[in-house]
Structures are given as C-alpha cells and as structure tokens.
C-alpha cells in the first residue's frame, strides 16, 4: 500500500465504528467499546506509520504526501478533494492519534465498564451507583456502569473521525465539514447527560456560540473561493503569486487587503472553536459533559482544530508581512485578542472551585498563547505549544476525571452528598491516588511551564521570546504575567486537591482508579515531559544544541519566506522571566493554599476581596451576554415573534379568515339553506304526511269497501275515458 492510500484510510475506522455501534452493537457494551477502541487503535497505527514516513522524508514541506480525487462536478471541471500530509499535519496527526487512543481506552474505565447496573440509573443521567451484597452479607454501594455506555463510544468515534478528517484533508471545504462534524459531536457529548438541565443548556450554548464563529469562517471560505477559484491549501498557501495578489488587492471592508479580510474571517472561526474572548463562554460550561469528552474537546481535538486552522492559514493571514515589519491589522487583532484572552482566562481560573473549570479556563488561556504567538509571527512556537499543550492538557483532564472518580467512589462509600468536583472538598488525595497525583503533578508543571524538565516550559519559553524579540513589550508583559497566574492557579489546584489533609469523608475514602484509567495517564505523562525536548532552541545556554531543534526545522518549512531564518535578535530576558515566574507562582500558590481547613473561604478572597467576587463570577460576562443576547433573543422570540407577529398578524389573518368563513356560512344558512333547501324538503315531507293523515280513513280494513272504491274508480275512469275518447 502506498503512503497516500494509507492517509486516506486514517479517518475511516472511527466512522465505521460509529455506524456499527449505532446500528448494530449498541446493546452490547463489550462489543461496542472493543469496536471503538479497536478503530482508534487502527487509526493510531496508520497515523504512526504516516508520521514516521513523514519524518523520514526530506523536504516534506515542498513535497508533501498528496493524493486527490475528483469529487464534485462543477460547471467546468471538478471540485477536487484529497489528503495532504505536510509537516504541520504530521505533527498534529501525531498528538491527535496518541491523545485520542488514550482517551478511548480511559473512557472504558471512566464509564465503569464491568460494574453492575445501578438500580436508579436512567439514560440521560449520570450513574448513581449500585448496591451490591458482598460475601459477608453486607450491602455496599459501588459505582455503576454508565446507562448509555455504547452511545458514548459511538459519539466519540464520530468525533475522532471528524478530527482525523480535519487533519488529513487538503482543502478548506472538507476541513469545514469535519469542523462541523466535531461541532455536532461536541453538542451531543456536552449534552450527553441530557437529563440534567445544566447539561442541556451547556450543549445548546456551545453549539450556538461556536456557530457564530463558524458563520464568519464560512464567509471567509466563500470569499476565498470567489477570489482564487480553489480551496486547496497548496494552490493558495504555497503559491506566492496568489498570496501576493491577495495581499495587494483591497477589500471593501475597513481598508483591509483581501488576504487580511479572509484571514480575519477565518480567524473568527478559530475564536469560536478555540474559545477565545469574546466567544469563550461555551468552553467552561462544556464541562457538563463526561470528563473524557472534556479531554477530547478541550485538549486533543476540537480546540486544537481551531489553532490548527490559523496555523494552516498563517501564510494567508500574514500575507504581505515580513518579520520586523509593523503588524498588519489582522495580525494585530490576533495578538490583541490572544493576549487579552490569555490574561482574562488565567485570572478567572484563579477563583474557580470546580477542578474541571480551572482546567477549562487554563485551556482558553493556553490557546490564547498560541493565538498571540501567531499574531506576533512566532509560527513555530505556536505550533510547538499546540503539540505540548495537547499532551499535558489531555493528561490533566484525564487526571481530573480520575480524581472525580475517586471522589465519587469515596462519596458512595460514605454516603455523603457533596460535589465531587469541588476542590475545597478534596485534599490529601496524593496519598490515596499516587499514580493520579504524580501524573497530575507532571501535567500541572508542564502547564505552568516548570523550567527545563517539562514540555510546557520549552514551548511557552519560545512564545515569550517570540513576543519580546518581535518587539511587542506589552504583549510580552501580559503573557509573562499570565504565565505567573497560570503557575499560581496550577499550584492552587494541586495543593487543594492532592496535598494537605482530607477535608471531607469522601476525600478520606477516595481510592486509586483502575489500570485502564491510569495507564493512559502514564503514557500521556511521558509525552508531557518528552515532547518538549524535540524543540529546544539551539541558542539556549548549556542545553541548546545537545538535541537538535528538530521541531523548528521540521515545521518551519511550512512558511514560504518569513520565519525560516528564525527570529530577529535574541534577548536573554524572556528566558530569565520564564525561569522565574513559573517556580515563583507555583511556590506562592502552594504557600497560600498549603493548609486550607475544611469549610473555610478561599484564602485569596480575603486578600483581593471584591476582585475575587468579580473573578469568581467570570467578570459577569455570562450575565452580560444574557442581557445583551439571550434576553433580546427571548424577547424577539416570545414577545415580538409570538405575541406580535404570530398571535397578532398571523393568527389575525387566520382568525379573520375563520370569522369570514363563519359569517358566510351563517349567511348561507340563514338566507339560502333554511328557506330554500330545508323548506322544499320539509314541504314535501310534511305534505306527504298530511296527505297520508287525511286519507287514512280510507284504509278501513274492510275488503268490501276497498272493492266498492275500486269499482267506483273504475266506473268513473271508464266514464271519463269514454267521454274523452268518444
């Protein structure tokens, strides 16, 4: 088999698994998860072969693996779709394959495969646990299996298909289709426990919010097709003539060039998908879904897809810009939104109590780093951070799922009714759940960019140095401060969850998850550390040059002109800053939260007071959107549409027609039906009756009288006939 054929086959197993599970095997839990995990493993294997081949191929960016078929017949010729593996797609494929496979395996344990069915469990609600009578006759509460187990695997298989298809595709249209498949799956999976109103709302919110971004992206897609007549990556992005034309042609909007406008529209798609301000609101609420979904959406696939898209279209977005030039408006928008979102989300994460919500905001913040990096032109750094982030964030989410699992186990054991996701109910879990603790620690350190050993350090350091070396001090300052906050809330999370003493009975009785859950954690933890080593800058003191900076060589070929020679100027400042802020933030976070007793308020609250309330309520953005969009929408639907248009105008027309008909009917009835038709009928009937009544006496019952009548009639008739004929 050629490598191109193999690339075509990568997305296939998950979608087959989806249909098989949905149609045939949904009653059988074991078969369903075997199909799903098996399909993920097949895709993983194919991806690894492709990745390996891609790495071995020199000059891959000039000569990517490409295969195309005719797809849609157009007026002249065909719309061709195909697959393409270039360095960016290859590295994306690498982390997608690993994280997807790990999440699939982890889901088996997370959904309590092999546990009994709960007595009170209903489809659409989280499992409540089952009562089991042990050998000693005692009744114990144990976790129960997810009621819609097979459905979950069907959905994430479809999700995986969407992501694989998005990565291997070679044009914007099929990318958009895969992008929307993921949007659908995220809707289905966030609302997986649809029995909970909050999950339903979150699903709708996620779907609608991302749809806003997608609308802009579709506009960008349409504009691009109109301008260039193609949506193929290579024909647009690797073609300096097309890029130059687009960069020089003025668009009708705000004095932007066409390249800038299309880039901006596509970037808005990313804002929705990667949850950047102001469309970030859906991502924290998306935590209503099962935790493997959170890992899937918020680390491995969907949000990464957003950044992947802007990375992919960076040549277009930055067309006409050279390193060292002033930023184009589009790049300026990206840098501004990115830097703002990074700080914004990191600050909100400080005041969240829910273990998954902290991670959700950290995801927004980290994605914002990538966007910012792209905005200032640090292409390689952004791609690098995308890869490292995918690994350590998938790890952290799966870890948090493991923690929640342990807490639920403890809650079932003690019979407490507590929120198993509230970090202030935890504490001391490090001793109960050692594997989860150590892997969480690795993930958390990577997230906060702990120097030298973690992947997050290397990628974040590159972004910081990219920002400063391009001369954007403000951006650099914001990112550095966000990095400090990141370290602080990570330390807060780790300290509250794993260190100190247990604050509830559930935390006291939590226990380590099964091997099927901890194994993916260990694998991802391995990558969370080692992935960083492939991208150590060559000019880094001491370590630089020990390993070749493979990542930069590999990926930077994606750019036609700029970025190839690395960044202009090198200052030791970012390195010093990143060496300082992460340990400092971690230390401070640990110190503040090292001994929080049960039932107390957050120590941070007493320090920053009202600001804490502001952060806790997420700057009241949700409330603002509620006032600005939701209430007007409800007004539009309820008052304007229903009361005025529907009940007033449409119902008025309908009612008017009805009334007219009624009036006509009455008129007909009164002036035609009753006098004419009924009258005639009645006259005939009553006349007949009266005649009968009046002639009744003839029927005397005496045969001889009848006879006389007959004879008389004959005589009279005979007489009449006689006179008439004579």
């Amino acid at each position: 088999m050629t490598i191109e054929a193999l690339i075509w086959l990568i997305p296939l197993p998950p979608v087959l698994a989806f249909f098989l599970i949905a149609v045939f095997t949904f009653r059988n839990r074991k078969l369903s998860h075997t199909l799903a995990v098996g399909s993920a493993a097949l895709s993983w294997a194919a991806s690894m072969i492709v990745f390996y081949q891609a790495v071995l191929t020199p000059e891959l960016s000039e000569h990517p693996f490409v295969s195309q078929i005719d797809w849609l017949p157009l007026g002249q010729g065909w719309f061709r779709i195909g697959v393409q593996i270039d360095p960016l797609a290859a590295v994306t494929l690498f982390f997608v394959a690993w994280t997807v496979l790990m999440i699939f395996i982890y889901s088996i344990g997370y959904h309590n495969y092999g546990q009994p069915v709960g007595e009170q469990d209903r489809p659409g609600l989280q499992p409540h646990g089952a009562s089991v009578t042990g050998e000693d006759g005692k009744v114990r509460r144990v976790p129960s299996v997810e009621p819609m187990y097979a459905r979950f695997f069907a959905f994430i298989a479809l999700f995986a298909f969407g992501m694989y298809a998005l990565v291997v595709t070679d044009n914007l249209l099929t990318l958009y289709m895969a992008w929307e498949i993921m949007g659908l799956c995220s809707y289905l999976l966030i609302g997986f426990w649809y029995g909970k109103p909050s999950a339903r709302d979150a699903a709708v919110k996620a779907f609608l919010t991302t749809r806003v971004g997608d609308m802009f992206m579709l506009l960008g897609l349409a504009a691009l097709y109109w301008l260039t007549g193609t949506l193929n990556y290579r024909l647009i992005l690797s073609n300096s003539v097309v890029l130059k034309q687009l960069a020089e042609a003025a668009s009708p909007v705000l004095g932007l060039s066409w390249a800038g406008l299309v880039g901006l529209l596509i970037f808005f798609g990313t804002v929705g998908k990667s949850a950047q301000f102001p469309l970030h609101v859906w991502l924290p609420d998306a935590m209503e879904g099962p935790t493997p979904v959170s890992a899937m959406i918020h680390a491995a696939t969907m949000v990464s897809a957003g950044v992947y898209l802007v990375l992919r279209f960076f040549p277009l977005i930055s067309a006409g810009w050279m390193p060292g030039d002033a930023l184009t408006p589009t790049l300026m928008v990206m840098a501004t939104i990115g830097a703002f979102s990074a700080l914004f989300a990191a600050s909100i994460a400080l005041a969240q109590r829910d273990i998954k919500r902290v991670l959700a905001y950290s995801t927004i913040s980290q994605l914002a780093y990538m966007i910012t990096a792209l905005g200032v032109g640090a292409y390689v750094a952004a791609a690098f951070h995308l890869v490292t982030h995918a690994f350590f964030k998938a790890l952290l989410f799966l870890d948090s799922g493991s923690v929640i699992h342990g807490m639920e186990h403890g809650a079932l054991h003690t019979g407490e009714h507590i929120d198993p996701q509230d970090m202030f109910n935890m504490g001391g879990l490090g001793k109960k759940m050692p594997i989860t603790f150590w892997t969480f620690l690795i993930g958390g350190l990577a997230l906060s960019g702990f120097p030298l050993v973690t992947a997050g350090f290397w990628s974040k350091d590159e972004i910081l140095s990219g920002a400063l070396n391009s001369g954007y001090v403000v951006v650099f300052g914001v990112l550095a401060f966000s990095a400090f906050l990141t370290a602080f809330y990570t330390a807060r999370q780790i300290t509250l969850t794993f260190l100190g003493n247990p604050r509830t009975g559930s935390a006291e009785h939590a226990c380590e998850s099964k091997l099927v859950m901890t194994l993916p954690l260990v694998v991802l933890a391995f990558f969370a550390v080692t992935v960083g080593w492939v991208g150590i800058p060559e000019n880094f003191p001491i370590l630089g040059g020990l390993f070749p900076n493979w990542f930069e060589h590999f990926v930077s070929g994606m750019l036609l002109e700029h970025g190839k020679g690395g960044l202009v100027g090198h200052s030791p400042l970012p390195l010093i800053i990143s060496l300082i802020v992460a340990p400092l933030g971690l230390l401070l976070g640990w110190w503040v939260y090292r001994a929080v007793p049960a039932g107390t308020v957050d120590p941070l609250q007493s320090v920053i007071g009202p600001v804490y309330t502001l952060l806790k309520n997420k700057y009241y953005i949700d409330e603002l959107y509620h006032q600005m969009f939701v209430r007007p929408a409800i007004w539009l639907a309820d008052v304007f549409t229903v009361q005025w248009v529907d009940r007033g105008v449409i119902d008025g027309v309908v009612d008017g027609t009805g009334r007219l008909g009624l009036w006509l009917g009455r008129a007909f009835s009164r002036y035609f039906d009753i006098p004419v038709i009924t009258g005639t009928g009645d006259t005939v009937a009553f006349g007949t009756r009266r005649l009968g009544t009046n002639l009744k006496w003839i029927q005397s019952g005496r045969v001889q009288q009848y006879m006389i009548l007959t004879v008389a009639a004959i005589v009279i008739l005979g007489g009449v006939l006689y006179f008439l004929l004579a």
């Binding site: 029927q699 001889q704 006879m707």
Partner: protein, 102 residues
C-alpha cells in the same frame, strides 16, 4: 242465430250478480263464489267474441280452458286461506277480519 249482444247482456248481468255478491255478502265463502261468477261472466264474453269473430281458430277455446284451470287453482288457494283464517280466528265473516287498516 242468437245475436252477440244477448250473450254480452247476459254476461254483464252475471258479472253484476257476482259483483253484488262480492260487495254485499258478509261470508268470505260467499264472496269467493261471487268472484267465481264474475270470472265466468268474463269467460262467457270471451267465448262469445271468439265464436262470432274467430270461430275458424282454436285460440279462444284454449284460452278459456286455461282460465278455468287458473280459476280452479285460485279457488283452491282462496278456500285454503279461508280455512286457515277460520282456524286462527274462528270466523269467516269479513267484517271481523278487518286487520288491513291504516
């Protein structure tokens, strides 16, 4: 030869006697006998016209024979009905059998 009108007058007289019997008698058997008389009056008419107008053909005679057979059958049915009515109601007086009224 006896003129045709005599036969016709005789037949009309016989018919009127029969008719009177039918209309005036109270006994059902008497009425039946009146009916037979009227039937015979018609037969006489038929025979008279045949004999004067179409004597060379046999049609008239055959018709009359068939009418007699039909009249005999009819009289048998009528008598049977009267017997049946008598058995049920113990009377053959038609005024007491006045069930056919509106």
């Amino acid at each position: 030869m006896i003129p045709l009108s005599w036969y016709l007058m005789f037949a009309a007289l016989l018919f009127c006697v029969g008719l009177y019997g039918v209309l005036a008698r109270r006994n059902a058997i008497g009425i039946l006998m009146g009916v037979e008389l009227m039937l015979n009056a018609v037969n006489i008419n038929l025979l008279a016209f045949w004999s004067y107008l179409y004597a060379m053909r046999l049609n008239g005679l055959v018709f009359v024979a068939i009418v007699f057979v039909a009249a005999a059958a009819e009289a048998a049915v009528g008598l049977a009905l009267i017997i049946s009515a008598y058995r049920r109601r113990n009377t053959v007086i038609v005024e007491e059998l006045s069930l056919l009224k509106g």
